[in-house]
């Protein structure tokens, strides 16, 4: 039944992947089209995102800068890309308020993308002169070299608001604790699960995993982008259904006498 790899155009081992991938994309694209056609979903409030404006406003009032860290990974990481899109929204608000925005980055390509994105945001906010490329600068690729810079800069510049949006590793807590020490309002977002507890403990708001990826769509307010969020929910419902069906089958199978128990089940206390 299974064709040799060279004989078939499609790789048969990947059939399941193809189905799931296609279904996921279909959910998202269909919801996007539906939203474009006028069926815009209502999105629940996401606390961290509603605080963005408040944080920028506070920095403006206090006359202190805003620090935005788009993670420490490069543009090949989807979290960095998501961080850059959130940056463009934050920059737009900061440009409107004429607040100072510092974006130290740890990758040259990210610097490039961040500059493009902030400049575009300034232009869109009608404040093209607000944009200053030197505020978006490359520090170093080294994780802790970057953290050393950020910790020192926070102690000296005392930012009023800190955004950590992207891919973080151990430096997350160095950033968040130093931001806390200078009394900054802190909003974090990452899909790096190991770092979430530290952001949850030290920041005022944390966007957890999928919420972080939803942030740019949410902040844009554009119908088609909000539609993609509905698509994610539909995909989630399908996953839950598939899971329930799988569990039901596995349970039925467990009663048939010839089954081998799942090795995972043997770890119970």
């Amino acid at each position: 039944m299974v064709l040799g790899a060279d004989a078939s155009f499609l790789n048969p081992d990947k059939l399941l992947l193809l189905v799931v991938l296609a279904a996921t994309c279909a959910c998202i694209v269909a919801s996007m089209m539906a939203a474009r056609a006028g069926r815009v979903p209502k999105i629940r409030r996401i606390a961290g995102l509603e605080a963005v404006e408040e944080a920028v406003g506070r920095a403006t009032e206090m006359g202190r800068p805003i620090l935005f860290v788009p993670g420490i990974q490069d543009m090949d990481n989807p979290m960095t890309v998501a961080g850059i899109t959130v940056l463009s929204r934050v920059a737009g608000t900061a440009a409107q308020y004429d607040a100072t925005l510092d974006v130290p980055v740890s990758r040259s390509l990210v610097m490039q993308a961040a500059r493009e994105s902030v400049q575009a945001a300034a232009l869109q906010a009608g404040q093209p002169d607000w944009y200053d490329p030197e505020r978006i600068r490359y520090i170093t690729d080294e994780q802790f070299g970057y953290a050393a810079y950020a910790a020192g800069a926070m102690a000296r510049d005392k930012p009023a608001a800190c955004f950590y949006m992207g891919c973080f590793f151990a430096e997350s807590l160095i950033l968040a604790e130093n931001g806390n020490a200078v009394g900054a309002i802190q909003i974090a977002g990452t899909a790096e699960t190991a770092q979430l507890p530290f952001f949850v403990a030290s920041c005022d708001y944390t966007l957890i995993g999928e919420e972080f990826f939803a942030a740019s769509a949410y902040l844009s307010g554009a119908p088609d982008q909000l539609g993609t969020l509905r698509g994610q929910d539909i995909a989630k419902a399908l996953i839950a259904l598939a899971l329930a069906a799988g569990v039901a089958m596995a349970t039925i199978e467990a009663f048939s006498p010839a089954t081998v128990t799942d090795p995972a089940a043997e770890v119970a206390p």
Partner: protein
């Protein structure tokens, strides 16, 4: 106002100078006791290699006795422990084979200074930390550029564009040695990226970014769906009722599976965006939050372990390698306790 942590800045200037002086005096006292501290020993090891021509005319070098005709000799300085130095001195006093290395000893003391300087930031920003910060930014930026040059640009780009030159210059083991046409693609992308440094290239400079973002969006989509959705869902398809090998009902294992399945479903409900968290979804999301909190608590606990181990490693560096206070690995064959005892004996 809740109970919080304060962070009053200490009186600057004199305070810091005083602190560093106290540390310096303590270290000086320590260095004067017994065997002293913080020295690094090396031994020069020279190896000779002679060429052997194998099949297909490929030349390989193998180790030969020193002085063999046509052999090339490589000399390297390698670390030796204080214990090995002491043993060598005991065997032949004044020997020169194992000796103190000045550059590495200076390095060790510098490393100790940097270690203390970073710790000092905990007490507040200060000149020693600022100096260390400036050093690490410069050094690490340079470091990664060097690594990118030797590990990526040379073997992946230059070696494909000018294989013969690269082989003769720095990669004698380069095989294949053919010009690869597809290496022109990243070269072109790179040139486009850098072209924005010129006034003409402002627009073209975006294309490589678009290329990176587009291709990796596709790549990561596939890998996440494959390993994270399919594999994780598959792993969660557990039987809710587990029957043991002897046909009995396994209570704990069943409970475990139920909790996992319920936990995954409820936590997924937390991530639902287009439905308000009310009613059934709201209740499930609430349970999901409990699972999330337990997950975060456990991750926190585990990470604490790691961080303390790292701190312990830094103290070990200070106590073992620099101050020579303790010697758990037996590298020096003498501990400061023994040193102190012998000092007291000498004095009395």
């Amino acid at each position: 106002m809740t109970v919080g942590l304060t962070d009053q800045a200490p009186r600057q200037g004199m305070w810091w100078i005083g602190l560093f002086l106290v540390i310096a005096v303590l270290v000086a006292i320590r260095a004067g006791i017994g065997e002293g501290m913080g020295r690094v020993y090396v031994q020069t090891e020279s190896t000779s290699y002679a060429p052997v021509t194998g099949d297909e005319g490929r030349v390989t070098w193998s180790v030969v006795a020193e002085g063999t005709a046509g052999a090339a000799t490589i000399e390297r300085e390698l670390f030796r422990t204080a214990g090995q130095y002491r043993a060598a001195e005991a065997a032949s006093p004044g020997q020169q084979a194992i000796r103190m290395s000045w550059d590495r000893t200076i390095g060790l003391w510098l490393a100790a200074f940097f270690t203390l300087a970073v710790f000092s930031f905990l007490a507040g920003d200060n000149p020693a930390y600022k100096f260390t910060e400036s050093i690490v930014i410069g050094v690490s930026a340079g470091y990664w550029m060097v690594v990118a040059f030797w590990e990526t640009l040379v073997p992946k780009l230059l070696a494909n564009l000018a294989p013969d030159m690269v082989k003769a210059w720095c990669m004698p083991n380069l095989e294949g040695g053919l010009f690869h046409l597809d290496a022109l693609i990243p070269l072109g992308l790179g040139i486009m990226l850098l072209s924005q440094l010129t006034p003409l290239g402002r627009h073209v400079g975006r294309w490589p970014l678009a290329f990176v973002i587009g291709t990796f969006a596709g790549l990561k989509m596939v890998s996440h769906v494959e390993s994270d959705i399919i594999e994780q869902v598959r792993a969660t398809m557990l039987p809710l009722v587990v029957v043991g090998d002897d046909g009995s009902f396994a209570v704990w294992a069943s409970l475990r599976n139920m909790l996992i399945v319920v936990g995954v479903l409820c936590t997924l409900a937390y991530f639902v965006f287009s439905v308000e968290h009310k009613g059934a979804v709201g209740r499930a999301a609430r349970v999901g939050v409990w699972f999330l909190m337990i997950t975060f608590g456990s991750a926190f606990g585990f990470t604490v372990m790691g961080r303390i181990a790292l701190l312990a490693a830094r103290f070990e560096f200070l106590f073992i390698d620099w101050l020579w206070l303790i010697d758990p690995k037996g590298d020096r064959g003498m501990t400061v306790v023994a040193t102190l005892v012998s000092c007291i004996v000498d004095m009395t």
